[in-house]
């Protein structure tokens, strides 16, 4: 498995001093309309009568963090503390209201597995589609197709529309596509809570291999303190969009557990 891992053809060079992820003073504000306006007419009416009010919701305020190359970094916090928002900003899906995010390297976002899967297409077609969305070239997918298929253990079902797959099988395909490349940064957002125990172990092995053998940096979000302690060395604790604590995973996890 290990020797089969291939780097994509063009790999950006990373200087050693720069952190792989640098989040500087990031604030994210959502405008929540007091009522949902669905039509132009409603909008104009409200605009004219000056009834257009927004409630501001700060999902993140002045969050800063640096992740060095090779770190294993966890983000902990209760639901609604801003973990997913932060990950989405780092992955480039969301644009922060204020502040700056810099990424040095290739990201494999396992935020929501299988984005862009179309369940009417076969697994083979979906592997290409999902690979394209993850930034792979067609040649790269061709080259690594067999490895993806064998990791996901679905050789017999390749030509079957994915609507006939179980959710565990879908997750396997998605995980296999997302990790076939050796990323500089792997972002994992509780994506591993699907699939059976056996497959979860296999995913964990793969993540460990990437970290240990390839120096991949890990950014991990989980509710499970045991998983965080097992995987990560550094951690940050978010509460209501503010960094409450940051430091070694052990200390942060201890403090976080006590507060529960």
């Amino acid at each position: 498995m290990i020797k089969n891992l291939k780097k994509p053809v063009k790999q950006p060079t990373i200087s050693r001093v720069d952190p792989i992820v640098s989040v500087e003073d990031v604030t994210m504000v959502f405008n929540i309309a007091n009522e949902r306006l669905n039509s132009l007419k409603e909008y104009l009416l409200k605009l004219v009568t000056r009834q257009l009010f927004y409630r501001e919701f700060k999902a993140l305020s002045n969050v800063s963090l640096n992740v060095q190359k090779g770190d294993t970094f966890a983000i902990v916090g209760v639901n609604g503390s801003g973990k997913s928002t932060l990950l989405k900003i780092i992955a480039g899906v969301l644009e922060p209201t204020n502040g700056r995010v810099r990424i040095n390297g290739r990201i494999a976002p396992l935020i929501e597995l299988g984005a862009g899967f179309d369940f009417d297409l076969t697994a083979r077609e979906n592997i290409y589609l999902n690979g394209a969305l993850l930034g792979y070239s067609r040649a790269f997918i061709d080259e690594n197709f067999n490895e993806i298929v064998s990791f996901a253990e679905m050789e017999e079902f390749l030509e079957l529309p994915m609507k006939n797959y179980s959710s565990g099988m879908v997750a396997r395909v998605a995980f296999a596509v997302a990790t076939v490349m050796v990323p500089d940064l792997l972002i994992v957002d509780e994506a591993l809570s699907v699939g059976d125990m056996f497959f979860q172990e296999k995913c964990m092995d793969r993540i460990n291999t990437l970290i240990d053998k390839h120096g991949t940096t890990l950014l991990f979000v989980s509710h499970s303190i045991e998983q965080v302690e097992r995987l990560c060395k550094q951690a940050i604790w978010l509460e209501q969009g503010v960094v409450k604590m940051s430091g070694s995973a052990e200390e942060v996890c201890e403090a976080y557990s006590k507060s529960q």
Binding site: K10, P12, F30, N31, N38, S39, L40, K41, Y43, A91, G92, V93, L94, E95, P109, I111, E112, A115, G116, D118, D120, L121, E125, Y128, L129, A132, L133, L134, G135, S137, R138
Partner: protein, 282 residues
């Protein structure tokens, strides 16, 4: 970080993957499959030719009406399908936009490319109809890629504009359906502009589709004049002699390009200015 070239290549790979996905899904359940892309405009033309042979349609009697008809309707349906599916493309791709970092312009542009490929397939039907009515291609048919470039640019601009606005006001999608219907009748697809009063002909100059449809007909039916039967008909009815189709000149090319470029620029700028907020609304 990736170079611009790499990013463009990847965007193109995503776009072509989306287009081929649309094709696979469109015909997945049908037996004839992609043949429908040819059959559909052909059958539509037969229906319309049958219906409109009972209505007054102006000077189209001097030329093979089915050819006149299919040229107009296929090009118009390229525009109407591309813009109507383009308009809802961002909303339809909400799940992807929320989850992955992606150049969002790909979605409306993929719809336009899909309809363009579909149009090119439907040209087979056009060729069949031309052969049936013995309209032989001339050298001016070489203008076709130029026309397709104009129309694609025009549709891309409209799709970018509509898809961006539809994120904030979903009503746009329904409104656009009505506008397309009105536009279909406001464009001389199954009648000739010569039956219109002078005022309408002047207004017609502001209809971009009028220019594109006329361009398409003029390069395809270049030099076509009446056949014997129509000649007799003209003679008996003392109708004025109608000039044959002329190939498009420089002015007509500039007009077509100008409309396309302005539309594209407007769509592109609106899309670029609003795309960061899509994720908060879809």
């Amino acid at each position: 970080m990736d170079t611009i070239n790499d990013r463009l290549r990847n965007d193109w790979f995503i776009l072509s993957s989306l287009v081929s996905k649309d094709f696979k899904l469109k015909y997945r359940r049908s037996i004839l499959g992609v043949v429908w892309s040819v059959l559909n405009p052909f059958l539509m033309m037969i229906v319309m030719a049958a219906v409109f042979s009972f209505f007054s349609r102006g000077d189209t009697a001097t030329q093979p009406f089915p050819v006149y008809l299919i040229l107009g309707t296929t090009l118009f349906s390229l525009m109407s399908s591309a813009t109507s599916s383009g308009a809802s493309s961002i909303i339809a791709a909400a799940s992807m936009i929320k989850k992955i970092r992606i150049n969002k312009m790909i979605f409306p542009l993929a719809k336009v490319v899909f309809e363009l490929v579909n149009f090119i397939l439907s040209l087979v039907a056009v060729v069949i109809v031309m052969a049936l009515f013995q309209v032989w291609p001339t050298i001016y048919l070489l203008y076709l890629p130029l026309l397709l470039f104009y129309v694609t640019l025009f549709c891309a601009g409209l799709s970018l504009l509509l898809s961006a606005l539809a994120v904030f006001f979903a009503d746009i999608i329904y409104l656009w359906g009505v506008i397309l219907t009105a536009w279909t009748y406001a464009t001389p697809l199954f009648y000739s502009s010569s039956i219109l009063p002078q005022l309408m002909i002047d207004i017609m100059k502001f209809n971009p589709m009028y220019h594109y449809v006329t361009y398409f007909r003029s390069i395809t039916m270049c030099g076509i004049q009446a056949d014997i039967a129509s000649l007799m008909h003209c003679y008996i009815n003392q109708e004025l002699w109608l000039p044959a189709w002329q190939p498009p000149g420089l002015i007509e090319n500039l007009v077509c390009l100008g409309i396309a470029a302005i539309t594209f620029l407007a769509g592109y700028l609106v899309f670029r200015a609003t795309q960061k907020r899509f994720i908060l609304f879809v």
